[in-house]
Amino acid sequence: MSTTETLKASGAIAPLPADALYRRCDPAQFSFTTTSELEILDDILGQARAVEAVTFGIGMRQQGYNLFLLGPAGIGKHSLARQFLDRQAKASPIPSDWCYVNNFENPGKPKALRLPAGRAARLQFDMEGLIEELRSAIPAAFDSDDYRTRKQVIEQQFKDRHERELSVIQEHAREKSIALIRTPAGIVLGPLRNGNVLGSEEFHGLPEEEQKRIKADMESLQRELQEMLRQVPKWDKEHREKVRALNREVTQLAVGHLIDTLRKDYADLGNVLEYLTAAEADIIENAEDFITSGSEPPPGLPFMPTEPPSFTRYEVNVLIGNGALTGAPVVYEDHPTHPNLIGRVEHVSQFGALVTDFTLIKPGALHRANGGYLILDALKVLTQPFAWEGLKRVLRAGELRIESLGQILNLVSTVSLEPEPIPLDVKVVLLGERLLYYLLNAYDPEFNELFKVGADFEEDMAATPENLPLYARLIGTLAKGDNLRPFDRGAVARVIEHCARLAGDAEKLSTHVLSVGDLLREADYWARTHQRETVTAADVESAIAAQIRRASRVHERINEEIRRGTVLIDTAGAVTGQVNGLSVIQLGQYAFGRPTRITARVRLGSGRVVDIEREVKLGGPIHSKGILILTGFLGAHYVPDRPLSLSASLVFEQSYGGVEGDSASLAELVALLSALAEIPVRQSFAVTGSVNQLGQVQAIGGVNEKIEGFFGLCAERLDGTQGAIIPAANVRHLMLRRDVIEACRAGKFHIYSVSRVEQAVALLTGVEPGERDGSGKFPDKSFNRRVEDRLLALSEQAQKFGASQAHGGTPEGGGPSEGRAE
């Protein structure tokens, strides 16, 4: 079929009927009056694939089957994860409690105790009670007459032994007239005469024999005394050991029956029994702590406060107590720093030094979620220093080892704790954008091993007759969940229509639950403002209008500047080489269409179409691709047997930001062809669509915003000539504003859909494009003939120019020809 025939047969030249511009949701199709009558929707709507993936991921207990829920923010990933995990968790067993206790052999490595759910707190309470009882029982045992007597006997034995041995020496000394005298540091022996110690003079006055005898006696006695004194430390040690043994025995009597009571209570828990045995041994070894009430300040530090002995080492640090749970835990950590995930060891300051013990070990989210599920925002995890590495490390190792960042990075060398690792059994659910998922897939080799299940969320769902009642229930469920007023049928229908608009497709509905929820809440606000008990379509309309109004400052300023002539956009008349293109600007959640003047200039050249946006680095690669496609179309469509001998330039006038995408390529091609054919283009139209090398018009995005953007500019001067040309493939996406539809219905504004460049040319120039006849020529005065003739003329000019250049002259006919505005 020829192009012209296609044109005629398709009837694309006629504007689209008003009904094709909007897919209305008929409230009458709903059987309910308000959403209060609707049942709660338990299922996740429109996310069958994601639901299937999540169900699979949760069901897989093997290592590495953690989940990554990918999709845009607000799509309902968190709600779905929470809903499924809560359901699964209820049917799962309650995980064990975990606590840290002192390691009496090595306090730097606290021991982890696993207890059945709810029993860690009981053990903590029991140990507190035990220590409290021992604080009175042990002093009472040491205050007993029995203990005092036995200790006195030991003391007396020691003293008697000492005294006995010294007395023997004293007696020997007395027999030899030698005195034993105490000094601050020991004992001195000295010769006696008549009860007095001999001085040097008196001693040397004695006969020599006598002096020798005294010396010998003193040496003998000194050896005897030395021998005895050397034994004193040994006796002292024996004495201390006897006292210690007595203390142990007495403490054992006081402690034993109390610990035995606990042993019976925890007879089923071997690890607790081991702990109790170790604690008992420590209590017995340190019984004096229970007797003394305080200690003297260290020598030289009188300012240091004296504190009563600490019994912290017998405390139980309940890290995780799951006694209150009814199933497995589901934990969401909204601040996933490394310590908040893995846990940390806190320190307290004592006289300028940081000290810690096992009671200062704090759990992380992974501890709380152990035996259950942990939900994390992927972006937050990735942006917290070392949180991602830490998470991967524990998932790989299958155990939770608490290490501070300082320890991991060797930044601090102070002695800290090395708590015993805790076995980890958790399913981690990461939530994040698709981009993150694919980046992690590409750049982190461990990601695939640890997060084997990706649940990809749909951003829209089919607006089928079966889905509409379900969507109505979703609206009702969201309204009830937020305690909003009931929505009547009309309001529900209007919300559904808006959701199709959010999806950018008349046949789809957005699954962006956050946006839907926002609309419902804001409609409820307007119903309240209007003192209505039920939310109506008018309230929904008010909410939508208010959303647009709040976000449209920039949009209105741009339109204002166009109307004032600061930004040049014509909506009437005809100009050669100039077309109104349409672009979309996204500011936050608000997108709007902006008309842009696209101009083209041609001259003799080497067949190159210059994209000025690209030249100044304002054009993106896709835009440049679109421009190169135009060159291909020109060469193949008009002068396939000759080289293109033009130089053309295309520009987005008054565009000062980046330009990306190929949705303006149709407009650019028409502008270029207009410049070549020197046929003016109607300025009452705006054009959007991309083209391929074959001249087919392809679908673009943001069609509604683009049409509304141009309509908004023309709204005050509509005279029935204005309209927009869109790709035929975009017709199904149309969900236009009511005022646009009304203007179209009234014949004041027209929307044309085209599937080929020729259709757009015909609409924009009013000139028949023309088709090659049997001799391969376009009809006279047809648009295509004018274009081809110009290209041939340029080609001939180029040949002449080339020949004259070769002979050193100038071609006839002067310089290059350019397009001209009319």
């Binding site: 007395s167 005298i181 105490r182 000094t183 020991g186 004992i187 001195v188 110690v197 005394l225 004193v232």
Partner: protein, 285 residues
């Protein structure tokens, strides 16, 4: 002041320190005792001249405690130690005396401990000695103290074991003999000084005899004496040493008042009694 209280009229107390072994605990107790009985305290710091003399002999060594390592006796070091100890002791005494509003003096002498104490005792009414220090063995220490008490006929000697808790009771060993009467009188007078009414220490009279009859006679005599003074007391009759020792028990808050000599009790038994007593002992001649 009644007749008994006159027996214990103490205005000046001598506390003698052995610089080698006495500490501030003795000082504390002495100051508190002086405060209670409103007496002036005279501290005597005796530098043992015998050590000085021994230091002149080149073959004399000091054996360390514990361990018994021998080293030459260095007189210079001993003198420096004495000076430092004396300065500390003086400072501590003055501070504590000021806190307790007790008048005090401090004197350093060089000589033999017993000689210096005897000489100084003439000017005071009571002598306080440290149980610790002095002789190497307990036995020798005790002999020394008792010997001092025996030769110093007019001055009671109070022997303290470092820091002493408040005296809650006074136990007097009484026999039917003249020497016991003085002890009883002093005990009663001291008890009256140490408190009044309910706060006064309880007095227990151990009426001692070799036989039950002798013990009964001793009780009769003691009752008469105390009745004259208007002082109430508990009386216990004990006959024989074994019964006496069992009856005494070992309270640390009781002051044991002993006559310097007791009939029916030999010196060995007195030594044993005093050696085992854990509280303060007052020996009255």
């Amino acid at each position: 002041m009644n007749e008994l209280e006159k027996l214990f009229e103490v205005r000046r107390i001598l506390v003698a320190f052995n610089p080698m072994t006495s500490g501030t605990a003795l000082l504390d107790t002495a100051v508190q005792f002086a405060r209670h009985i409103e007496a002036e305290l005279e501290a005597l710091f005796v530098e043992d001249i015998e050590l000085m003399r021994l230091a002149e002999l080149p073959f004399v060594y000091e054996l360390s405690l514990p361990g018994g390592t021998a080293k030459p006796l260095d007189i210079g070091e001993i003198e420096r130690t004495w000076r430092a100890l004396a300065a500390n002791m003086r400072q501590a005494l003055e501070a504590r005396a000021q806190e307790s509003a007790v008048r005090c003096s401090f004197r350093v002498v060089r000589g033999r401990m017993d000689t210096e104490v005897r000489a100084a005792a003439d000017a005071v009414d009571l002598v306080i000695l440290d149980w610790n220090g002095g002789a190497v063995t307990r036995h020798a220490r005790l002999k020394s103290r008792l010997s001092l008490a025996a030769t110093e006929s007019s001055r009671p000697i109070l022997m303290l074991r470092g820091r002493q808790a408040a005296i809650e009771s006074v136990i007097v060993l009484y026999a039917d003999a003249e020497s016991s009467k003085a002890a009883l009188g002093i005990a009663a007078g001291l008890s009256a000084k140490l408190g009044s009414g309910a706060s006064s220490p309880r007095i227990t009279i151990m009426c001692f005899g070799a036989t039950k009859e002798q013990a009964e006679r001793a009780e009769t005599g003691a009752r008469e004496i105390l009745k004259r003074g208007g002082i109430g007391a508990n009386f216990r009759r004990v006959s024989g040493t074994v019964e006496l020792l069992a009856a005494l028990g070992m309270p640390t808050d009781a002051l044991l008042v002993l006559p310097e000599s007791l009939p029916w009790l030999d010196s060995g038994e007195v030594e044993r009694l005093v050696a085992d007593w854990q509280g303060p002992v007052l020996i009255v001649h």
